[in-house]
C-alpha cells in the first residue's frame, strides 16, 4: 500500500510539473469586521479574564467632555491638541518648579502622538489610555533662543497641528512665520526657554532634532498618561476650544 501511495505521489509530481500553472485571475477586496459577524466563542472565552481585570480599572469616570474632540477638528490647532499641551504644561509646572526653581515656558507635543479622539460624555481611565496608549514620559528641555527659532520654523514647515502651549504662532499665507510669541513676547536672542515635551520627541522623534542637545534637561519621571489622568480628576468638564494660538493669516 505504501508503495502505491509513493508511486501515486510521483505521478502527481510529474503531472504537476508538466502542466505549469500561472496566475490567470486576481480578485482583491476588503471585508469589514462588524457586529454582523458572530464572535468566535473560544477566542471570546480566552479574552474574558484579561478583559475583566482591565475593565475594573478602566471604567472609573474621571471627568466630562462637552463635545467630540479629535485631532483634525482644526488646521494648525485642534481642541484635543490644545487640551493635551495645556494639561502637560499645567501638571508639569509644579514638579519642575519644585526641582529647579524655574518655570515652564512652552509645551510641545506631536500630532501623531494623539492616538484617539475623545467622545462627548463621561471621560474614564479608558479615555486616557485610548488617547495616550504610549508609555511616554515628560521631560523639560531648556533651549537656546536659536533652537527656539528652529522649533518655530519646524512647526511652520510641518503643516500639521502639533500641540503647543505657551507659544502663539501666526503664519503668512506662504507658511513663513509672521509672528511667534512666548508669553506674549517675541523670542529674545541670548535668552533660554524651557520646553516641556515627551522623552520620545526629546530623543529626536518626529525629527524634532532641535530638542536633542538642550542647555539643561530635567526628566520628571511622570508619564503623559498619568498627567492626563491626574488632570481629569481635577476638572469637572474639560475645555474643548480653539483659541487662535496657531493660525495662518
Amino acid at each position: 500500500m505504501r508503495k502505491i501511495i509513493a508511486l501515486f505521489a510521483v505521478f502527481l509530481v510529474v503531472a504537476c510539473a508538466k502542466e505549469k500553472q500561472e496566475v490567470s485571475r486576481i480578485e482583491g477586496k476588503r471585508i469589514n469586521i462588524n457586529d454582523s459577524i458572530t464572535a468566535n466563542q473560544e477566542i471570546e472565552a480566552y479574552i474574558q479574564p484579561f478583559r475583566e481585570r482591565i475593565q475594573e480599572d478602566m471604567q472609573k469616570v474621571l471627568s466630562y467632555a462637552p463635545k467630540d474632540m479629535h485631532k483634525r477638528d482644526g488646521e494648525f490647532e485642534t481642541t484635543i491638541g490644545n487640551l493635551m499641551a495645556d494639561f502637560v504644561k499645567l501638571q508639569s509646572e509644579p514638579v519642575y518648579k519644585k526641582r529647579t526653581g524655574k518655570s515652564i515656558d512652552v509645551c510641545l507635543l506631536n500630532h501623531g502622538g494623539i492616538r484617539a479622539p475623545i467622545a462627548q460624555g463621561p471621560i474614564t481611565t479608558q479615555t486616557a489610555f485610548n488617547v495616550m496608549p504610549f508609555e511616554n514620559s515628560i521631560v523639560v528641555a531648556e533651549l537656546t533662543s536659536e533652537n527656539m527659532k528652529v522649533l518655530v520654523d519646524y512647526l511652520a514647515k510641518a503643516k500639521r497641528a502639533h500641540p503647543i502651549a505657551g507659544l502663539t504662532i501666526k503664519l503668512n499665507s506662504d507658511f513663513t512665520v509672521n509672528e511667534a510669541l512666548i508669553d506674549g513676547k517675541p523670542i529674545e536672542d541670548g535668552k533660554t526657554y524651557t520646553v516641556v515635551t515627551s522623552d520620545y520627541l526629546q530623543h529626536g522623534g518626529d525629527r524634532m532634532y532641535f530638542l536633542q542637545n538642550p542647555v539643561t534637561l530635567e526628566i520628571l519621571d511622570y508619564k503623559i498618561r498619568n498627567a492626563m489622568i491626574d488632570y481629569f480628576k481635577t476638572v469637572d468638564t474639560i475645555p474643548a476650544k480653539l483659541d487662535g494660538r496657531f493660525v495662518k493669516l
Binding site: 500561472e22 490567470s24 485571475r25 469586521i33 484579561f50 479629535h70
Partner: protein, 305 residues
C-alpha cells in the same frame, strides 16, 4: 514576459461580463485549477475588543473574536489560505500596557496566523519586550531590511519564508520602516535599517529566480505613499521600482484603501498594493486563481478589484 492584464473594477459589472467572458468560462469549467487565498491585517494596534457602540469614528467595528470567525469560515471554503500581518501588532489599548503583547500574540496564534512582519510600534517595550513575547507566537516573523545580528532578535527573524500550498510556491518577504527619528534608539538598540527598495529588488530576484516561487508577496510596514515627501520609500514606490512582486501588503500609514491599488512595475506588469487601515476594522482578501500557462498566455490575466 509582458502579459495582457485585464483590470476590472467590481462596480462595472457589465464590463466584467463582456471582457471576462472567456476567462470566466475556463475558470468555472475546471475545479482542478488552483486557488490561493491571502488574508491580511495591519496596524491592529492591540485592538482585541471591538470599538464601543458610541465610538465617534468606528462604532461596533473590529474585534478579534469576530475576525477569528471570518478567518475560519474562509479557511473552510479554501484550505489553501494564508493569514498575514504587516506589523504594528502592539500598542493602542490597555491590553498592551497591562500584558505587553502576550494576548495579541496568543490570539493570533489561535487564529493560525502564518506570518507577520515587524512594525515600529512592535519595539515599544524595547526589542527585549518583543523578544520576551516570542514564545507566545506560533507564527514566524520576516524582515529583509532589518538586520538584527547584534540584538536578542538575531535568528528569530528571517528575511523571507516560503509556503507551499496545493503545489503553489509562495515566497513572502518582509520590509520595515526607517527607525531613526521614529523609534527611540534605546528601544530598537542595535537593529540596523537598510534601504527597503534595494533589499526588495534583491528579495524578489531570490524568490522568483533562485527559489522559483509562483507567487511573490511583500509584507511591508514602510507606508503606502508620502505625497509630501515623495523621496521617502513607500509601497507605491516599491511597486514601481521592482519586478516580479505580485502583491504588496502594506501598513504603517493607516491607509484605508477601499480596494487594492494596481501599479505598474519595472517590467510594466501589474502589482497589487493593499492596506486595510488599522485596528482590525477590515481584513484584506486577495484571491489568486491559477490556470495552465498556455491558457494564461492566450487569454491574459484578469484583475478584479
Amino acid at each position: 514576459m509582458k502579459r495582457r492584464d485585464f483590470i476590472q473594477h467590481s462596480l462595472a459589472t457589465s464590463a466584467f461580463v463582456t471582457l471576462g467572458g472567456l476567462s470566466l468560462q475556463s475558470f468555472t469549467a475546471s475545479s482542478a485549477k488552483k486557488h490561493i487565498t491571502i488574508l491580511h491585517t495591519n496596524d491592529v494596534h492591540s485592538h482585541i475588543d471591538p470599538f464601543g457602540a458610541n465610538h465617534p469614528r468606528n462604532p461596533n467595528q473590529g474585534g478579534a473574536a469576530r475576525r477569528a470567525t471570518l478567518v475560519s469560515k474562509i479557511r473552510k471554503e479554501n484550505p489553501n489560505t494564508l493569514l498575514l500581518d504587516a506589523g504594528d501588532i502592539f500598542q493602542g489599548t490597555p491590553y498592551f500596557n497591562y500584558y505587553g503583547g502576550e494576548l495579541e500574540f496568543k490570539l493570533m496564534s489561535m487564529m493560525k496566523y502564518d506570518l507577520a512582519t515587524i512594525g515600529n510600534h512592535d519595539f515599544d517595550n524595547g526589542i527585549d519586550g518583543l523578544y520576551s513575547q516570542l514564545p507566545n507566537a506560533n507564527f514566524e516573523f520576516v524582515s529583509a531590511n532589518y538586520d538584527f545580528k547584534n540584538t536578542v532578535m538575531d535568528t528569530h527573524v528571517k528575511p523571507y519564508k516560503i509556503f507551499v500550498k496545493d503545489g503553489i510556491k509562495i515566497g513572502i518577504f518582509g520590509l520595515g520602516v526607517k527607525l531613526e527619528g521614529l523609534v527611540d534608539k534605546r528601544m530598537y538598540k542595535e537593529t540596523v535599517y537598510h534601504d527597503p527598495i534595494e533589499f526588495a529588488q534583491d528579495m524578489s530576484r531570490i524568490l522568483k529566480e533562485e527559489e522559483k516561487c509562483d507567487l511573490v508577496i511583500c509584507l511591508s510596514h514602510i507606508g503606502y505613499n508620502y505625497t509630501k515627501n515623495p523621496e521617502r520609500p513607500s509601497d507605491l514606490m516599491l511597486a514601481r521600482k521592482t519586478k516580479d512582486i505580485d502583491l504588496i501588503i502594506g501598513g504603517h500609514t493607516h491607509t484605508f484603501l477601499k480596494k487594492p491599488t494596481i501599479e505598474k512595475n519595472l517590467n510594466g506588469d501589474s502589482v497589487l498594493v493593499n492596506q486595510v487601515g488599522a485596528y482590525g476594522i477590515y481584513v484584506g482578501r486577495v484571491d489568486f486563481y491559477f490556470d495552465d500557462e498556455k491558457n494564461v498566455i492566450a487569454n491574459g490575466k484578469s484583475i478584479i478589484v
